[in-house]
């Protein structure tokens, strides 16, 4: 039996409970196992970002618990939560992922530096990861000189660098052309297959959804469907 990575129990999120309440997420139960490659889909405003932020410990649910590797992160203090994110969760954001004044290599290295990884360890891993995302020749280039797709690849490399339990990506392809989007997905799928990295990403893109091993559809903050496919990735 596969190892459970995330256990979401009866999670709800209500914005502005005192004025005009917005029920962004309603009584969601979810369960993710190691190695899953999951797409979170749904119309705009259905609660995808909210749910991902709750799973990532960036936003607190109004109700329910989020258990990651046995730790209920909804009970962690603010500082403990920051430390938890650093060591257990990888993030790829839709845009503005990288520190503009650091090179690609330094952006990836930075997260390991925060974790306290030794210099030798960092350098080795940066080289490995930049090769894995196909950007060995762009190590010393700043984000502004990279294409949107390349920037997202660096962001994936950085997310992997911290050796997280799983990687959350909120619309990682939203700002990419379809070719770059496909490339990024190929790369994520490969990392999922080869390294068993768990990915949860939200998307609107039908071609991206095709690649997912599991598709969770949110409608108005509730799970409308949750389907698994036999073959994962391409």
């Amino acid at each position: 039996m596969k190892k459970t990575v995330i256990d979401i129990h009866n999670v709800s999120k209500v914005y502005n409970p005192d004025t005009i309440p917005v029920h962004a997420v309603n009584n969601v139960h979810l369960h993710f196992e190691q190695g899953e490659f999951t797409a979170l889909v749904g119309p705009s405003g259905s609660g995808k970002t909210t749910l991902l932020n709750i799973i990532g410990g960036l936003d607190a649910p109004t109700q329910g618990s989020v258990i990651i590797n046995g730790t209920d992160i909804t009970h962690l203090s603010a500082n403990a939560l920051i430390r938890f994110r650093l060591h257990h969760i990888g993030f790829v954001f839709q845009s503005y992922n990288l520190v503009p004044v650091l090179t690609a290599r330094e952006n990836v290295e930075f997260i390991m530096l925060l974790q306290g990884v030794s210099k030798a360890g960092r350098e080795r891993r940066v080289r490995e990861l930049m090769a894995a995302v196909g950007l060995s020749d762009k190590m010393d280039v700043r984000p502004a000189q990279l294409s949107g797709g390349q920037q997202q690849r660096v962001a994936v490399a950085r997310a992997l660098a911290s050796k997280p339990q799983f990687i959350l990506a909120d619309e990682p392809t939203a700002n990419l052309d379809s070719h770059s989007a496909a490339n990024l997905l190929d790369m994520m799928a490969q990392l999922n297959r080869d390294e068993g990295m768990t990915f949860i990403f939200s998307t609107h893109d039908a071609r991206v959804i095709e690649r997912a091993g599991r598709v969770i559809t949110l409608v108005d903050g509730s799970i409308a469907s949750d389907t698994a496919r036999v073959e994962t990735g391409v």
Partner: protein, 404 residues
């Protein structure tokens, strides 16, 4: 790498970093120049006025200041002299026996102020020798007199001529004596230039029939700035039948003039600091707005807020320190130039100074403490302001910051 990150950020928006730095150094330069000029003006003013005659501090028999007569003189014993010289901060003390008298050549007679002095001691305290324009200076056993130039002109006498001094001696006796004019002195102050006469102390005591008596001990502090503390020290150590006055007390009009000027320049400096503070603050706000998403992203990834705050603090403090250092570096030659090319007042101000008896020309003061004080003041403003971004960073909500 945190330092590296801060360092790179400084170069990220060069013009903004530069503008912030420039506003800091402008503030330092202006504040330093303003303070140096002002201190220069005051030092010059005080040194002039004080070295005319009064000295920084005077010790009298109690009551002399309000009634300047021989009856309020005191015997200059070694113990009094010792007590004054050993008071904290005192470097010199020279006695005078002062009296009003008539000076006459036979044809012409003028009122004058006679001072019996110890010539060398007097020179140390008021640089009297430097005012000599003709003839020879006095020595301890001189039996002649030194006349102020203006007075000599009115009497139509010069070195080698003889004058008669008529005055009232101790306990009302008549004091009269015939003295050779040994030299002429030129004073900037018209009041002095038209009426002072100097004799050796012993000669004056003999003339006034007041053996061993003096009216005044003129005291030099180690530094002009220590005037008040030296006066206070003397008041504490000397017996109650003495009075001690600082130049501020002897010349209250000059003290008031300085106080008014200091107050108005303090306001100018406050406005200057305020302007600079707003300037720096505006660039900090711009920086915060521009990097909001980046900060949010870094905290979302797991960077501790305190680490991020350190980066931001490093950046602003670096800018402030560099600005202050550049400001000092620029102000040193500037102030030096202002010292070499003194400011010359004209119009009403000049008249006021000329009435005090000296040219309204003021070199800036080149004083290290001014550089340090102004730079520290600007630095403190910078550091206080840089706590704003720090507080903002510490209270950042990554989700909101990234959405903005």
């Amino acid at each position: 790498m945190l330092t590296l990150l801060a360092w790179r950020n400084l170069w990220r928006n060069r013009s903004r970093s530069f503008i912030t730095m420039a506003s800091v150094w402008c503030a330092v330069v202006l504040a330093v120049a303003l303070s140096s000029l002002q201190k220069g003006v005051f030092d010059h003013l005080i040194a002039n006025v004080v070295s005319f005659y009064s000295g920084y501090v005077q010790v009298h028999h109690a009551g002399y200041q309000s009634e300047q007569t021989l009856e309020n003189s005191f015997p200059l014993t070694d113990s009094v002299r010792q007590a004054v010289l050993s008071a904290p901060g005192v470097v010199h003390a020279t006695p005078r026996l002062e009296a009003f008298a008539l000076v006459s050549t036979g044809e012409k007679t003028r009122g004058c102020m006679v001072a019996g002095i110890e010539p060398d001691g007097e020179d140390r305290v008021t640089h009297l020798k430097s005012k000599l324009v003709a003839g020879a200076f006095l020595h301890e056993r001189s039996t002649g007199v030194l006349l102020a130039e203006g007075l000599a002109k009115r009497l139509r006498v010069g070195p080698g001529d003889t004058v008669v001094l008529l005055g009232q001696g101790y306990y009302g006796s008549t004091a009269a004596g015939k003295y050779a004019v040994e030299g002429l002195l030129r004073f900037g102050s018209p009041a002095l230039n038209d009426q002072v006469v100097f004799l050796a102390l012993a000669t004056a005591q003999h003339w006034l029939d007041a053996p061993d008596l003096v009216t005044t001990l003129v005291v030099s502090p180690r530094k002009p700035a220590e005037t008040e503390s030296v006066a206070a020290g003397l008041r504490r150590t000397l017996p109650a039948d003495f009075e001690t006055l600082s130049w501020q007390e002897m010349m209250p009009d000059i003290r008031e003039h300085i106080q008014t000027d200091t107050a108005s320049s303090a306001i100018i400096k406050a406005v200057l600091y305020l302007l600079i503070a707003f300037g720096i603050f505006a660039t900090l706000l711009m920086m915060l707005a521009e990097r909001q998403r980046e900060f949010g992203m870094l905290v979302a990834l797991g960077m501790k807020k305190i680490q991020l705050a350190r980066v931001v603090l490093f950046e602003t403090i670096f800018i402030t320190i560099t600005g202050c250092l550049v400001g000092i570096a620029v102000s040193i030659p500037l102030v030096w130039w202002l010292k070499e090319h003194p400011i010359r007042f004209s119009g009403e101000t000049a008249e006021v100074y000329e009435r005090f008896g000296f040219e309204a020309v003021f070199p800036a003061a080149l004083s290290p403490s001014i550089f340090v004080n102004q730079a520290v003041a600007v630095f403190i403003v910078g550091v206080l302001l840089s706590f704003y971004p720090v507080i903002k960073v510490l209270s950042i909500n990554p989700v909101e910051a990234m959405r903005s």
